[in-house]
Symmetry: C2
């Protein structure tokens, strides 16, 4: 079911400072800062060649990472995102196996505009797992998603 | 400097149960359990195609992940590992930039038998960063490492 690790996300208190450290100290390929007000975060993507690191800073009221940073004021690893070919099939299998999907259990459009789900960290050893539907070609799963 | 994300490591309280969840619930490619007594951990690698997830359980007294699991009893993301072509050059650049290397500051043989360093989490937004030297061909950096 799960395929590539799409990204790991790190919540940081100061995005510009964090991006500068990855660029200048670690010599990483650091992208431009992008505000995503509909997701309550400002992001910087780091391209590692095989995957991405997503640095996240809260944006606006009610940011989904505000509580995490209140607990972890220095920042920390926030979630890990795996790609799946069919998110509805993945969700059905997970729920049948007893795993909990956060929110109302249906996929939402994620930061890349693709359908995503988050799984309860208590079901995966304290790790917040995101699943993102990724397809190189439109197929039945995309049709099912767009009709939700 | 940093290249591919080699792996992310997740510390878990029950390795067999965690591996079963990744295999049966997430349908991941889960490898065999391997005891690494010299590193104080038992590991299971998950192959995501582009990178790896390393599930870690403490092994023996003084495991390097024991303190983390004492604080995070359910488990959690423990560290992230990036590949570098020359670990001594990387260390010199990091120290010159004010970053702290854990331990005595010199590379050690990691779980893959390759030279690794760990950077202080306070310098990288609460994230424990491992650097691992990876080379497709022997070169000057390997010679320098083997002479340490």
């Amino acid at each position: 079911m799960i395929g590539r690790l799409n990204h790991i996300a790190i919540a940081v208190p100061d995005l510009a400072a964090a991006a500068a450290k990855y660029r200048d100290l670690l010599g990483a390929q650091v992208g431009q800062q992008r505000a995503l007000p509909e997701h309550g975060v400002t992001v910087v993507f780091i391209n590692t060649g095989n995957t991405k690191v997503e640095l996240l800073e809260p944006l606006g009221e009610g940011s989904p990472i505000a509580a995490f940073l209140a607990k972890n004021s220095a920042g920390g690893m926030h979630h890990v995102c795996f790609e799946v070919p069919d998110i509805l099939a993945a969700a059905a299998k997970l729920v049948a196996g007893g795993a909990r999907i956060l929110g109302d259990g249906t996929p939402k459009a994620g930061a890349h505009g693709l359908p995503v789900l988050f799984l309860h960290p208590k079901d995966f050893d304290g790790v917040l797992v995101e699943l993102e539907q990724r397809l190189s070609q439109p197929n039945a799963a995309v049709v099912r998603w767009t009709r939700l």
